[in-house]
Amino acid sequence: MITNSAVLSLRDVSKVFPGVKALDNVKLDLYPGEVTALVGENGAGKSTLVKTLTGIYQPDGGELYWKGEPVDISDPEVALQLGITAIHQETVLFGELSVTENIFAGNYLTRGPLRRLDWPAMHQRSREILADIDAPLDPKAQLKGLSIGQKHMVAIARALSVDAQVVILDEPTAALSHHEIEELYGIVERLKKSGKAILFISHKFDEIFTIADRYVVYRDGNFVGEGLISNVNEAELVEMMVARSVSETFPKQTVSIGEPVMTVSNLNHPTEFADINFEVRAGEILGFYGLVGSGRTEIMQALYGLSKAATGDVRIDGKTTQIRSPADAIADGLVYVPEERQQQGAILDLPIFQNISLPQLSKLNPKGVLNEQREYELARAYGERLKVKTSSWDQKVANLSGGNQQKVVIGKWLATQPKVIILDEPTKGIDIGSKAAVHRFMSELVEDGLAVIMVSSELPEVLGMADRIMVMHEGLMVREFSREDATAEAVVAAATGGLAA
């Protein structure tokens, strides 16, 4: 079954998490000197696969073969020794340590019988690798002082410092600018020529068709198909990915747009963003698009009172507001549904109804004595409205699926009856069915006259749902598109710094 030339092969690999089958009998072959693109929607199992290949997760079933021999990648060190290196989607680096140490941690260069760490050699080598990828950083600089793009270049340098045979790039361009992406293409070309097998994971079809030789498609944790890139076109790939027609339907309703609800002028932050001006109107979905780390989330957190260093003028319903804390923001009618649901959105060990009632416990219980009945009714009202799938409102949020957790978080904030709701990556990491439900729900929100700010890295979502799109690049607002003017190419070009604003 296994092709002799494949350096790394997976057969029937499964990985189960509580409630989710992240990988279900998938296969994969990686060939030396070739780039294999792994394609799939969010939740298709791509990141789980990467973590399985690098020894971070152990598969629950199936076999891995290294050059035809069965292999057990029991921990990340084994992967490193085999010669598998990965640039992970989120940079996992050490903020307190130097650039050099981030590149060599776990794989230090040593000399002498005492195996003394050879810092001069490592600094020298770091300088070479960084120069090679056109990222002239000081090897002795502390990592936490670098920008997010620079950190990403350090992560790439780290992967290149290992003499690997398999290089995995998990959405490597998500945080990179136009210029850096070009650099990365060059690096991939060189790796290919030197006979490395490359697994390239990306959402962006132009990238896939530019650098990949083969493709593999996963959907909902299942293997769907594979082949040579030259034998496939974009429409066919998309159809395999989503198993429905290309024109993904977004439940966007036409809503008459009203008066400005929130006006932000001259919002600044010393290191994260500058000169932010925008307004959002009743009945409008305002999309914020940009690369990972372009400052979108930082702006939203500043508006919500989470960032002390920001300055600027914020008006809600014409009144200047002083938002110093989330409590102020909620009182003024602004709520924020964060990206990291598990860490910031819901208290997983509490039941659904307590999560929903949490922001207004004092309002529901004016005498300071908890009234579970009222909490319960509130939870039922919003839970049912959002169609949260659960056997009871007593269930712990931890026991719900990702999509239903998201609904609980949104329900919690809606129950405060806000004027403006900020949704940060509302559909990140949830399955397709729940995604559609969240989109439908956003449409209902604006119909009710709410103003919605949607931060998203998913272009189809932004193009499909937003009435206006603000594009961020390196902490600045570079362009504004109306729904009619926004094309995928123009929005991406603005977000990657390809176009002068």
Binding site: T54, I56, D75, P76, E77, A79, L80, H88, V92, L93, F94, G95, E96, L97, S98, T100, E101, A105, G106, N107, Y108, T110, L114, R115, R116, L117, W119, M122, H123, D138, K140, A141, Q142, K144, G145, L146, S147, I148, Q150, H269, P270, T271, E272, F273, A274, G293, S294, G295, E298, S307, E474, G475, L476
Partner: protein
């Protein structure tokens, strides 16, 4: 000025210690005599050795509250062996103390690594167990000076090149850790595992194992201090070093070891111990009451924690290009 000081914890601490010593010397010139200074350093040796072990534990985001009980238990064990078998050579006894301390440390490490119990809970438990074991072992009896052999008591006091052996042992341990923390992978692992456990795991560092190692080192050094303590004070009893673990943790905190893990230096930690040693020795000399000493130590600890936390304050992602260039020149010293 404040920020410049915070960035140079070692230099700042060294400066404070020198100023403190000179100030006390100004009031009581005898304090500046060579004998007195050596005495102060020697009195700090045990604290410094224990702080080295504690530092590794704290770097990996744990804490070892059982060190002082470990000192008491190993100290009692070697004291009793010496009293019963005076013929056992001292190097062998020291080896026994090291191994016994290591085993007590490994018990902590086992529960933290394999069983997954938080370190503060584990060591709070073993602190009581080890302390109670001293009583069980000795039946509450003391081992007094006259029961100990001469060589048992003499070793830490032997003067080599002007310094007592005990001081040399402390200096050697600080030097060894200083070297390891810069030049050995096993030393760097404490910083990576504590700095970001997720990133450490991704780079192939087994965080639990590193924590285990930290506890073993901390226990080993506590075992050594068990012998040093009992021989120096020529007495072993149940309450030896009672509450001393708090001084040890304080020395680390004052020395700039972050309770959140991953941040700190060997020299800073050694200076933190020295600072406490100077306070403990110098203040009585100028007639400051012991209660004031405690208040001063406590205030210093709080100041140190505030300084640590502002040094650790999370940086943003630094997105703006202008912000990147403005901060571009920052360097780290360790590497």
């Amino acid at each position: 000025m404040m920020s410049a000081i915070l960035k140079n914890r070692e230099r700042f601490l060294a400066l404070v210690i020198v100023v403190l010593v000179l100030a006390v010397g100004f009031i009581t010139p005898d304090f500046l005599s060579f004998t007195s200074l050596v005495g102060t350093f020697n009195d700090t040796s045990i604290l410094m050795i224990l702080a080295m072990g504690q530092m590794l534990v704290i770097l990996t985001r744990c804490i070892d509250l059982s060190v002082a009980a470990n000192v008491a238990l190993t100290g009692m064990a070697v004291g009793m062996i010496n009293a019963a078998f005076p013929g056992v050579p001292i190097p062998l006894l020291m080896l026994f103390a090291l191994v016994m301390g290591a085993v007590l440390g490994a018990i902590n490490g086992f529960f933290v690594w394999i069983v997954g119990v938080p370190a503060i809970v584990v060591t709070l438990g073993t602190m009581s167990i080890y302390r109670g074991s001293v009583f069980l072992l000795s039946d509450g009896a003391w081992v007094n000076a006259h029961q100990m052999s001469e060589s048992f008591i003499d070793l830490p006091r032997q003067v080599v090149l002007g310094l007592p052996m005990m001081s040399w042992i402390a200096i050697a341990i600080v030097a060894l850790l200083f070297f390891a923390s810069r030049h050995w992978r096993s030393g760097r692992d404490f910083f990576t595992a504590g700095g970001d456990p997720t990133a450490a795991f991704y780079t192939g560092v087994n965080v639990g194992k590193v924590q285990f190692k930290a506890f073993v080192v901390s226990g080993t050094l506590a075992g050594l201090c068990g012998y040093l303590w009992v021989s120096r004070f020529a007495v072993a009893y149940v309450d030896v070093a009672n509450g001393f673990e708090l001084q040890v943790v304080a020395a680390c905190v004052i020395g700039g070891i972050s309770i959140m893990g991953g941040i700190g230096t060997v020299i800073g930690c050694a200076l933190g111990a020295l600072f406490l040693g100077v306070i403990n020795n110098a203040l009585p000399v100028i007639g400051v009451s012991p209660f004031w000493q405690m208040a001063i130590s406590g205030a210093v600890i709080i100041i140190a924690v505030i300084a640590n936390s502002s040094a650790e304050r999370r940086e943003g992602r630094i997105i703006l290009r202008s912000a990147v260039t403005a901060r571009g020149a920052q360097k780290v010293e360790a590497a």
